[in-house]
Subunit: 351 residues, 2 copies
Amino acid sequence: MNERQKRASTKDVAKLAGVSLGSVSRVINKFDNVTPEVREKVERAMAALDYRLNHAAKTLRSRSSRTVGCMLTDITNPLYANLFRVFEDKFREAGYLVLLANSMNKGAWEIEILEMFRSRGMDGVLLAPSNERNPQVIAAVNQLDIPAVIVDRDISVQQDQVRFDHVRGIREAASALIAQGHRRIAIILSGVESRPMRRRLEGFRAAFAAHGILPVEELVVRLPSSTENAFARVDALLRSDQPPTAIFSLGTNVLGDVLSAIAARGLRVPQDVSVVSMGDPEFARSHVPAIATVSIDIDFAASESARLLLERMEGRVQGKPRRVLIATQFVPRDSCAEVPPSKTRKVSKTR
Amino acid sequence: MNERQKRASTKDVAKLAGVSLGSVSRVINKFDNVTPEVREKVERAMAALDYRLNHAAKTLRSRSSRTVGCMLTDITNPLYANLFRVFEDKFREAGYLVLLANSMNKGAWEIEILEMFRSRGMDGVLLAPSNERNPQVIAAVNQLDIPAVIVDRDISVQQDQVRFDHVRGIREAASALIAQGHRRIAIILSGVESRPMRRRLEGFRAAFAAHGILPVEELVVRLPSSTENAFARVDALLRSDQPPTAIFSLGTNVLGDVLSAIAARGLRVPQDVSVVSMGDPEFARSHVPAIATVSIDIDFAASESARLLLERMEGRVQGKPRRVLIATQFVPRDSCAEVPPSKTRKVSKTR
DNA sequence: TTGTAAGCGTTATCAG
DNA sequence: CTGATAACGCTTACAA
């Protein structure tokens, strides 16, 4: 790095340009009431001194950091990574910076992060607290005195919220499978107990209920962490006496594991096992056979969150919390088919 | 959110506690020379007023933001997401916050981000500029007057650098395949032209050179973006008159596509096609057959970067730039096998 | 339109 | 060990 010579301040610029501090500030902030001559003198001086605005001073004085905080569970989850990127883009356009903090599912960290957001003077925050049932976390969220938006959580707080209608998409998908004769349907859920997991299971059960039957509880698999490998679990299901005839792959990175486990046992999709995935990645579309999915428009969730938050931050909206519910949709594809007759009989025998 | 009552300052705390401003500051910063009584009075007052440190004021006065910047191409790339997370952890331990900025491969943004880092008073920065050949970006990096570490770039600047020895791992892997009789080896590279891509190709060519032969240029596939789907490209290769007998899958998300394309054509790994992947994800290990990989210890790169940067920031190290080269290694697994005799003949005919 | 000066909330430097 | 006071670099009234 270069020798660290003292950075030029507005005062230095004013002196060199032969104008006052106020004029420099007006030029920096693009005020109208500045004569072209003054503006040019200031700009010349700024260039000559390689002047940079000191953001801390600006924040201190103007009481706005032009920064928003973004608290997620874990950015290595591609869903969150996408959410962040779109959110960052929207705010960049609006002249804000986004500060990312990963809570890694730890309640204590979530509280710490919220403290930090306050201390650092965030103008607004986006929150996806994983500990949505932790009273201390809820209290900390409620005590926030800055605009906030909560993403896809069942948490009862006085802030704007954006949620996915997970139930509907999964219900549609499960219904379709049931209509195709499937009864032994496995569902692989990943991540900690939280809204997405809960709602997906709810939709799953609702589909069975609508057909007057019950899901097979042994086929409900909860992976403790979203990084956990699903291969062994799926493999075990497939080895059992009564293997599933269809599998919901609802974790972030589990589709590959599921397909790999199916192939490893010499089974075929969809002839032996039907598969439904989540989030509609490119991979699912190009796979042969194409994998049916429950689509989740994470980009839309991100931009809606950004919109709600910006409206609050800019004072364009006040009053009671708003709720946005984003639809999810079943996208049927070749990976789902009728249950093979032999398997149907086998199942009917046991019921 | 709650009603926004004016936040308490150190002055308020001092008044309520009946001590001076200086004493409050000493308590906050955990100085030794404070009597227990004073400390307790201050702490009580802070609690009563729900006092929060104003970070902007602290930064302005102390000339340290206790924040480091992290400029990456795109956090949705899992490799970068992991890098960030480990980096963030290390700095959190040291009492710093990490500010993430995605440059999305845009040179103009990279320059803008560097400006922003300066303006916001970063104490240090980690950079992985995608435009490593862009003179303006290089100039901007060189002009930084804060400690910096560059990650895995071929860029000639006066800063500490951490790099992977991509060449070696790929060379080992390619040599192993060549030794198994493979000649038509495809290599799928993703992302923009940059060090990782360049070096991997270099290692690939080096292995052929060592055996006195040349790679088949038509089998070198460059995917323009790291999000681009590789299925169609691999499918096209496999359909050709002279399909590859082995495939290097060196992009971040391409392994799934490669396996899927192979399976879609009814081919088997490794009997028909050998496969080598990159980065050693869990998925590769549990897949049947297990996928050979060129391992890349991204966590180690992140912690080494953090170490180098912290040493500079804390002034423990001065002087000329340091270079860390991190080994990559070929991990052979079942996905690689001898070329089937029929295919060997086919190739030998054409040479 | 421009200049002047106060003050944002902290830390740092002195005396006491 | 504690208190008073001057910065830090900027914005923002208000006065000229």
